[in-house]
């Protein structure tokens, strides 16, 4: 019940912490101008306030973009670094025992600690450390045996304590790297980007603006604070300025998403704000050692937005450079406007903000033992990069490799299938073809289907051995996807075993020929296309079970037989 803000903000009545509604503070008319606040808002570490805007998608063919960028490439080079906030999917918040669930009624996941009530103290959730250590190890970072928390201080209504608990000069991990493979449609290729640091911190709440939700007008509607998200644990991952193009940056973010999903530390969902990227872009003439003036871009809600925003920004800066106006590139924060497909100034840098960091006295330092690091290290799953290299070694094409390793659930399904002895390429084809299409149509994840890897392996084996035809195989597949069951069971139940017996097939062919004297005559008078008609009739008579190879061989013999 800590909703509020500005004038009428509600006073939290802490006795009723779980009230589900936003309350207004009793005394006053509340109106607030967000204009006045958008400036201080700049200081929130983990904002994403404008993200709800302009959801419409605009498709820009990647090829076209690439050409634009490559034109630039001749004289200038872009330098891109990314700060990513990953919201951890721990059961409870970072410093209190409140659960957090996205989309819950405002101020229903709060307690005295995350509301910043007087006298409340933070106690670190040890799962946060576990997540940080997992990610640090997955990103090949050096872990600090002893790190500490600090307070980052600024005033903003979504920050209940007036400071954010974060890590400043001694983060839990430093100096790592991430490996990825660029998609083939962007030219492919392997990349390794440096990771500067990973640190733990807490999220802030959210401001809710009623009325039309716009920031900058005087309105009679109160702004209110939803503190559900306050205190939710985040990991901030800072990259080295190693990326040079929009696609590299968006693939970096995508790989980070894969890694956190593989590790199970976050759902990595960008729409929900579980994965937020702020990118820094600068441009310099090729050959120049020092970096150009860097511009930060916010409001990037998707990988393609990251890609397009950066490429737009690079073009903008290169144009200024090539017109001799590089001085008009200033250090500022720009906003990606999805609708207009461009970046616009959000605020100019107002000098370095002084957050007055100092060590958080309420929390002891975070001490990690070698044994703990080792045990977490042993618990790590196979990571996307390792998986891709392994799939590659199995002989799969890069297209297959990227598809299969993209989603850990799919990769697990594939791995389980081939572990049951299925042919690697056939398993990949089934998963990427019919199964993927089914998932897409039904809007399901691979974990939701009734088909189990063992049965897919069985199905592939049955086709390979000739027990059933490929066509029947497909039918069985859809049956298995929707209803489950076993391949053997379905074959028996529906009597689907392929007919390979020569005599049986000859009988069926004879019957069909006998029943279609007219067509036979036409065939023999040269209209050989009718072979397909006969084959179809026989297949129909066999209820699709006749082995097509044998059938055609017999059919051709019989049709062409001298009378």
């Amino acid at each position: 019940m800590a909703s509020t803000l500005f004038r009428n903000v509600i006073q939290a009545q802490p006795l009723f912490l779980n009230s589900s509604a936003l309350l207004r503070r009793k005394n006053g008319v509340l109106y607030c101008t967000m204009k006045s606040t958008s400036h201080s808002h700049t200081q929130t570490a983990t904002e994403e306030k404008q993200q709800q805007k302009s959801p419409q998608k605009i498709k820009v063919p990647p090829q076209k973009q690439m050409k634009e960028v490559s034109k630039i490439g001749a004289d200038y080079e872009a330098v891109i670094g990314i700060e990513t906030h990953v919201q951890l999917s721990t059961l409870t918040k970072a410093f209190c025992s409140c659960p957090y669930s996205y989309g819950a009624q405002p101020n229903t996941c709060i307690c005295p600690v995350c509301m910043g009530l007087p006298g409340a103290l933070p106690v670190l959730n040890s799962k946060v450390i576990e997540c940080a250590v997992k990610l640090a190890l997955a990103l090949n970072c050096r872990l600090s045996f002893s790190s500490k928390f600090d307070r980052k201080q600024y005033f903003y209504p979504d920050l209940p304590k007036g400071y954010q608990i974060s890590q400043f000069d001694i983060p839990i991990a430093t100096g790592g790297s991430i490996d990825l493979d660029l998609p083939l449609e962007f030219g492919g290729g392997h990349r390794r980007f440096g990771i500067t640091r990973i640190h733990m911190e807490e999220d802030a709440g959210k401001l809710m603006h009623s009325g039309n939700g716009s920031y900058s007008q005087m309105s009679n509607h109160p702004s209110q604070v939803d503190l559900n998200r306050a205190g939710v644990p985040l990991l901030e991952i800072v990259s080295e300025p190693d990326m040079r193009t929009g696609i590299e940056a968006s693939e970096y973010a995508a790989e980070l998403q894969r890694v956190v999903r593989y590790l199970g530390v976050s759902n990595g969902n960008m729409q929900e704000g579980s994965l937020r990227c702020d990118v820094n872009v600068s441009v310099r003439p090729i050959g120049q050692a020092e970096f150009g003036t860097k511009v930060e871009i916010k409001n990037l809600n998707s990988f393609s937005a990251i890609n397009r925003a950066i490429d737009f920004e690079i073009s903008r800066q290169v144009n200024l450079h090539s017109q001799g106006q590089q001085d008009s590139i200033v250090q500022e924060t720009r906003l990606w406007e999805e609708g207009a497909q461009k970046t616009v100034t959000m605020r100019k840098k107002e000098g370095l903000a002084d957050y007055r960091y100092f060590p958080e006295p309420d929390l002891p330092e975070v001490v990690l033992t070698k044994a703990y690091m080792d045990s977490v290290g042993k618990s790590l799953p196979e990571l996307p990069e390792a998986k891709r290299r392994r799939y590659e070694e199995m002989g799969l094409s890069m297209q297959d490799v990227l598809f299969l390793a993209n989603d850990i659930a799919v990769a697990d399904f594939f791995d389980a299938t081939i572990q049951k002895g299925a042919d690697v390429k056939l398993a990949a084809n089934w998963i990427m073809g019919d199964i993927a299409a089914y998932l897409k149509n039904e809007k399901l994840s691979i974990n939701d289907i009734k088909l189990v890897p063992h049965e897919l392996a069985e199905l592939i084996a049955s086709i390979k051995s000739g027990t059933i035809s490929g066509k029947i195989g497909k039918e069985i597949l859809f049956e298995l996807l929707a209803k489950g069951g076993t391949v053997k069971g379905l074959i028996e139940e529906k009597d689907l075993v392929q007919i390979t017996d020569l005599v049986d097939i000859e009988k069926m062919v004879d019957k069909v020929i006998a029943e279609n004297p007219k067509q036979l005559e036409q065939y023999r008078s040269g209209k050989t296309k009718l072979q397909g008609y006969f084959a179809g009739q026989v297949m129909k008579a066999s209820k699709g079970k006749a082995n097509p190879g044998i059938l055609n061989k017999v059919l051709v013999e019989k049709l062409n037989a001298k009378v």
Binding site: R7, V9, P14, P118, G119, L121, F155, K161, F358, P361
Partner: protein, 470 residues
């Protein structure tokens, strides 16, 4: 650290007889404005064989179990004394209206034969400093910015004392958020020293010290960041115990300087503060800085020479110039007394001692500038209606905080600012480490170190413009 005890002369103001009919003897030190004309304390403590005041907590327990008095009778007599003395003292910001109900519950338990199961604090009237959260009463920290604020939870120390049968009689006055050493810095009222109404009770736990001294309650909770339990205990002639950092959970204590804040106990005897501390201390899962070390379990006060062979270091620097001669002679008397009890007393020198105060000021101000950020008028507390956000913050804080608090926030903000951090905050931390090391060294050769709790007796009201402690 124990506060210095007043000389026996001033302690004699309180009758040491069990008979409640005897009027308290007027102490020679008490002035016309003293409280000697008020009814005697409800439970005068018997004197133990050694001459030290006996435990009122144990006396309460014995009286309840023997049936000589009921918890309700006890509560009524404390409340009536409180009502009579409060207009002069102003020890309390809020007096609980559920005292008699709690007392009745204890009586009901005894009536049902559950006497032996009573907690160690059963029926004990406890004052709680108003910067310690209580769920059923306002908790203001002595600040207008939290006027009428009611927390949704009890501080761990309060929870524990209640679980052990203690009855919270009310919330005691303090310097705003603990920042001060006279209790004149309260946003609400000025508390008087029961021994001389023209003098301050000390601070910042002045209300807690005054209330115990005037027997408005048996014991009280205070908080000590830079002397705020010890100094008012000294000024009011009671025992003040500032435990080791982390001994008592800080959960529910409104933070002033988190790395220094400690909840402490005030009482009329060493035994009482010992029993009280035992009841409220111990690890708390809601305070990551609370100690997991186990506690002492028994206090044997009856042994004739319990301190025999104990090595006591008298800190030389605490008896330098600037310390009143009366304080020095009280310390010397205490030293003689300890020697009689078998202690070996030696002077020790802690050259870094004088660095403590400046380091404390920097660190406490820095932490307070951060800890008090949450009082922004947004979620709770005083909010001044404003047209835009920065004005909301500025006006709410300008009208809610008193001058001492504002000064410390400004000082702390400055000390943490970019460009000054190394010269102030970081340096103060280094000094803190030096001081800690020198204490450690001194404690290698001594079992305990002693010093006066304050360099003088209580100041006259309005005398102290600059505060030295908090």
């Amino acid at each position: 650290m124990l506060s210095t005890l007043h000389s026996p002369r001033s302690l004699s103001r309180f009758p040491l007889h069990l008979t409640s009919s005897v009027k308290p003897r007027a102490a020679s030190a008490s002035s016309a404005s003293s409280l000697s004309d008020y009814p005697p304390p409800p439970l005068p403590a018997a004197q133990s064989p050694g001459g030290a005041p006996a435990s009122q907590i144990l006396t309460v327990r014995r009286s309840l179990l023997s049936g000589s008095v009921t918890a309700t009778q006890l509560a009524e007599s404390y409340l009536s004394r409180l009502r009579l003395t409060e207009p002069q003292l102003n020890s309390f910001i809020h007096v609980s209206d559920s005292v008699l109900k709690s007392a009745q519950e204890i009586d009901d338990k005894i009536a049902k034969g559950g006497g032996e199961a009573l907690g160690p604090l059963a029926g004990v009237m406890v004052g709680v400093k108003d910067n310690i959260c209580t769920a059923d009463m306002p908790s203001t920290g002595g600040s207008r910015i939290l006027e009428n604020y009611r927390p949704p939870f009890d501080a761990t120390a309060v929870k524990r004392l209640k679980e052990k049968g203690g009855i919270v009689v009310g919330k005691t006055n303090l310097d705003e958020f603990g920042m001060g050493s006279t209790t004149e810095g309260s946003g609400f009222q000025v508390t008087a020293n029961p021994w001389d109404l023209g003098r301050v009770p000390g601070g910042s736990s002045g209300g807690s010290a005054s209330a115990v001294s005037a027997r408005q309650c048996v014991v009280s909770l205070g908080s000590d960041t830079g002397g705020s339990v010890r100094q008012p205990a000294s000024f009011c002639g009671v025992v003040g115990l500032k435990p080791t950092y982390g001994r008592v959970s800080r959960f529910g204590l409104m933070a002033y300087a988190s790395s220094l804040d400690v909840i402490g106990c005030l009482g009329t005897s060493v035994a009482d503060v010992g029993i009280f501390l035992n009841a409220i201390s111990g690890h708390d899962k809601f305070d990551a800085t609370s100690s997991k070390q186990s506690l002492f379990t028994s206090i044997n006060l009856l042994e004739s020479k319990p301190l025999s062979g104990l090595k006591v270091g008298l800190i030389r620097e605490t008896l330098d110039d600037g310390v009143d001669s009366g304080v020095k002679s009280a310390i010397n008397a205490a030293v003689l007394h300890m020697q009689e009890l078998g202690c070996i007393v030696n002077e020790v020198s802690l050259p870094s001692f004088s660095l403590g105060l400046p380091a404390y000021y920097i660190l406490a101000s820095s932490e307070s500038s951060s800890n008090l950020s949450r009082y922004d008028g947004v979620r709770y507390g005083k909010q001044t209606v404003s047209d835009e956000l920065n004005a909301l913050y500025a006006n709410s804080r300008a009208s809610g905080f008193g001058p001492e608090v504002k000064m410390r926030i400004l000082m702390g903000t400055y000390a943490l600012s970019a460009g000054y951090y190394d010269a102030y905050y970081k340096r103060a931390q280094q000094v803190r480490t030096l001081i800690r090391e020198s204490f450690k060294t001194a404690l290698e050769t001594n079992d305990i170190l002693i010093s006066p709790a304050a360099p003088s007796v209580a100041y006259k009201m309005g005398m102290l413009v600059v505060s030295y402690y908090s």
